[in-house]
């Protein structure tokens, strides 16, 4: 960026955040009863919770867990993270002992086009500059652990290959926490004998690493190391799986992850405690913050507001069927976020035509919202809808949403936390408190003992409303192999487009009578799920022609501008 034009937009998220005086992190910890001794501070406004303290808290984990999810995302935007933060702040405003639990941002989207993941407007977590950049180094630790294993695999082959690894069948790629399309497909080991055996390889973005998924599901360092050891990284020439434990470096990987594994504590603009820890991909992984952070938060606060990636068909389903199942969690309420503009798009309106009132489009698009409400209720959890308000929304459009929700017995609250902070989510918070006093009868969608194929069919038919499932023969064979290897009890992690209930991203709204294609399946033995791929999954994004990186700068005071 040209230095001459480095001006700070006063309405930017960064500028709004900079106008707030953050409270020392000791004060934020004290709100949850965390003594200063149990805080590993990273500067004045970030801390990790000492693991022994966190472990004592997470054993209790008796707070009310509130999941914020959304309709299928559209380019119009929904505001799931801002709603999570706004609701947390509103609960705090109502005098509740509350904590928020969110994922950490990846550097890839920060420098690409999506921007950071710290909310926006007056519903942000801070220090946003720090959280959006390296934060407490967790993702770097995960990258290092992942890449150490990759180096150990090639090193093992180099020094004689005692395990008889088939270098054509090494499935452990390398990672970098950036968008870098040139690294998607590479050949390594070129340059002669001293550099090893050349082979095809590639890089994923760090959030796509199975180490990230494991990091977010492990309950302890011991559990973490055992899961790392179970990861299948290659096959032998005899087609037998090679696990990470056979490379003898899971101890080093755990050492690299030791500090990172401690949950991070920050605050919202209004001083509400927020745990921000871990951030796995929401397609080939489960897309929620770490179990250790969520459970620690539940042990310290009476209410914990958290979010899941993508829409409720993917993010909430995985949150409930993978994370809650593995971690012994039961949510007390689900908030589904929608916007008038996004529902119009689900109703068939193009993004350029979102301006004028269009009640019919909202009515059609509300079908998408209604399905998610029905799906969430099917898990036995109380549901409420939050409309993240835009000034262009009209009363008739909002009434159309309310009517559609009333038909499935769901209440709707208008929220303006983006503009107003906690004051904009007071009614939503009151409703949530009321819902969590109801009995929740949460149960996962399917039993662990169900065959893997039937688990996939159950998700496809009951959540996506597919007419059927078409599994490629190769994938069917692999599923049988996974069951023969003893992995039949694992839950399914669906890798499907987030833009539609179907596998076709252009089919917004409420697609029906489609056949869900399962093109491939993968075993994530360490994370503890089987990934079902409905199409190509991009695990290494590229940068746009004018990446956000071109707008980011540091001024002479050290303020970082251009982040969003």
């Amino acid at each position: 960026m040209n230095k001459a034009v480095r001006e700070i937009d006063p309405n930017s998220d960064a500028a709004i955040a900079a106008r707030v005086d953050p409270r020392p992190i000791e004060e934020i910890g004290a709100k949850l009863g965390v003594p200063v001794d149990a805080l590993f501070r990273y500067g004045h406004y970030k801390a990790k919770i000492a693991l022994d303290f966190a472990r004592r808290a997470e054993v209790r984990a008796d707070g009310k867990l509130i999941l914020v999810t959304a309709i299928n995302p559209t380019p119009a935007g929904e505001g799931k993270t801002t709603t999570t933060i706004g609701l947390g702040d509103a609960l705090a405003r109502a005098g509740k002992k509350v904590a928020i639990a969110l994922r950490e941002p990846s550097l890839g989207p920060v420098f690409g086009s999506k921007g950071g993941a710290t909310g926006g407007g007056h519903s942000q977590i801070i220090p946003m500059q720090d959280i959006n950049l390296h934060f407490t180094g967790d993702f770097h630790a995960i990258s290092a652990a992942h890449n150490l294993l990759a180096a150990a695999i090639d090193n093992h082959v180099y020094w004689g290959n005692a395990l008889d690894i088939d270098t054509r069948r090494i499935n452990w790629r390398r990672v970098v926490d950036l968008n870098d399309r040139a690294l998607r497909s590479v050949v390594v080991g070129l340059g002669g004998p001293a550099n090893g055996f050349s082979r095809e390889d590639g890089f994923d973005i760090t959030v796509a690493s199975e180490v990230m998924a494991i990091f977010c599901l492990a309950r302890s360092l011991n559990d973490l190391e055992e899961r790392l050891g179970r990861m299948v990284v290659a096959q032998t020439r005899a087609r037998q799986p090679v696990t990470a434990s056979q490379l003898k470096i899971t101890g080093s990987m755990t050492a690299l992850l030791r500090d990172a594994f401690q949950p991070n504590l920050v605050q919202t603009l209004e001083g509400t405690p927020a745990f921000v820890h871990g951030g796995p991909f929401a397609n080939i992984a489960h897309g929620c913050n770490s179990v250790i952070a969520t459970r620690t938060a539940l042990g310290l606060a009476d209410y914990v507001v958290t979010e899941a990636g993508f829409g409720a068909d993917l993010g909430a389903e995985k949150f409930l069927d993978i994370k809650c199942r593995q971690a012994g969690l039961a949510p007390s309420a689900v908030v589904i976020v929608a916007t008038v503009r996004a529902l119009k798009m689900h109703g068939g309106v193009a993004q350029k035509d979102l301006g004028p009132e269009n009640v019919e489009a909202v009515q059609r698009g509300a079908g998408n919202l209604v399905r998610h409400i029905e799906n969430m209720k099917a898990f036995g959890v109380p549901v409420v809808v939050a409309i993240n308000r835009f000034t262009s929304d009209t009363p008739s459009e909002i009434a159309a949403i309310e009517a559609a929700c009333a038909a499935v017995d769901a209440s709707v609250h208008l929220c303006s936390h983006w503009a107003d902070g906690s004051a904009g989510a007071v009614a939503l918070a009151e409703e949530v408190v009321s819902l969590t006093q109801q009995a929740s009868n949460f149960s996962p969608l399917y039993e662990s003992g169900l065959p893997l194929v039937q688990k996939i069919e159950t998700i496809a038919r009951r959540i996506y409303r597919a007419g059927g499932v078409s599994i490629e023969p190769g994938a069917l064979k692999k599923l049988s192999e996974f069951e023969a290897m003893g992995y039949g009890d694992l839950p399914i992690c669906m890798a499907k487009t987030q833009y539609s209930f179907s596998a076709d991203p252009t089919r917004r709204g409420t697609p029906e009578d489609f056949i869900l294609p399962i093109r491939d399946v993968r075993l994530s033995a360490g994370a503890g799920f089987v990934v079902a791929l409905c199409g190509e999954v991009m695990t290494m994004p590229g940068l746009p022609s004018h990446p956000a990186a071109e707008n980011i700068f540091v001024d002479e005071t050290g303020f970082i501008g251009g982040l969003s």
Copy 2:
């Protein structure tokens, strides 16, 4: 590592360190007058110094600077880092206001074979587990900044290549902070049009990045960004240099480095303040900790003990001709570390035969030490020799060293800080204090205005004692080009084997009448030096057949074992 054999060796560096109760980092800061507000703590025992406070301190920079260097290294080991720490502790024991300034370790050797870089025995900096692993994340920040630029280059080509970058002439490789030989030579951009243009590429270890060298030479964030912008990353089809500033992301790179740029403060086992910040390669870069850390330390302490990489022919020469010249520093004394065992090897004894007394070998090998003494004195700085004592050393062997040093008017002190801590370096500390009270007439070896070829010849003849220099025609041509581009005033950074004064690593002792070959030269325009390569330089190490990574583990208390 097999879990059953995870036992902690009570004599290991990690175990010795674990038996010491570290002082809270606030107390360490207070020893140097750093208020708690100016400390960005990373847990209880590590902190960064707020940049505005550091900048105010570094402007003063009026302490006495003591450089610890060594004879040419041998497999017998010299103990430069432990001597730096032991001397610092001994100065503190004598009541002096002292700080130590060291490099940060790279993860590569920690998991490879060399081990960490936090000293050993009773002369260590702590917390050694943290420092040897991620520490405060500086190297990760440097890796991210480096790789963001790499991604931006390929992204620029992908989106139309407005700068007309010749993809065959991109010299900006990627980095990872691990030993991974498979990444030395790769092809990126495979897999079809969506992944960009395929081309040859490779990865270096992070410490070899020019970003690392810049990080360690920059005086301010502004200086840092300007240096980053000057880096030449590629050539156009018309063979014009393409600089990082043309890619428009030096602002983002600086943002990634903002926090890292603040000097890190830790302590020795005896509670002496230690700045540990930055760690560039000592062959293609200058091999010393950051200027901002050294100058901040000099602004806060009366005595600052620091070290340079490799032997005095490479490390000290670069420290004096590159770092001191650029940073406006003048050392008050130089300590040259040697061991009886290493001098025996310089005297022609094989490593397996080091046990028995061999006075003649010591006498022959002492020539190596004497040359380094003469060289350092030629810079106008007082010199003292520290013998890092081993129990096998005999009085006659030590007398032989003393006699050789007396002949060039240098005093010798026996040190046992490894075994005894500060008590083992009391006499050395007294001598150093005395030397720093003498007038120092430091001046660099050559003037900035000397032509580049003559600078190379000056180092080769006066420091290495070469009979002459043989520069490849291609390298000569490049040197002319660098001068034509306006870089003729830069100092030279020699990339030569550390094991010999010559370019032949097998020629220990005092080689003479050799011709130093200069095979290639490189411009590090951002760091501000011209690298002269005397042979192949390995910028990405490999892992050994049984890497240290196999011995590292975390026990149930969170203690990390197996680090050295």
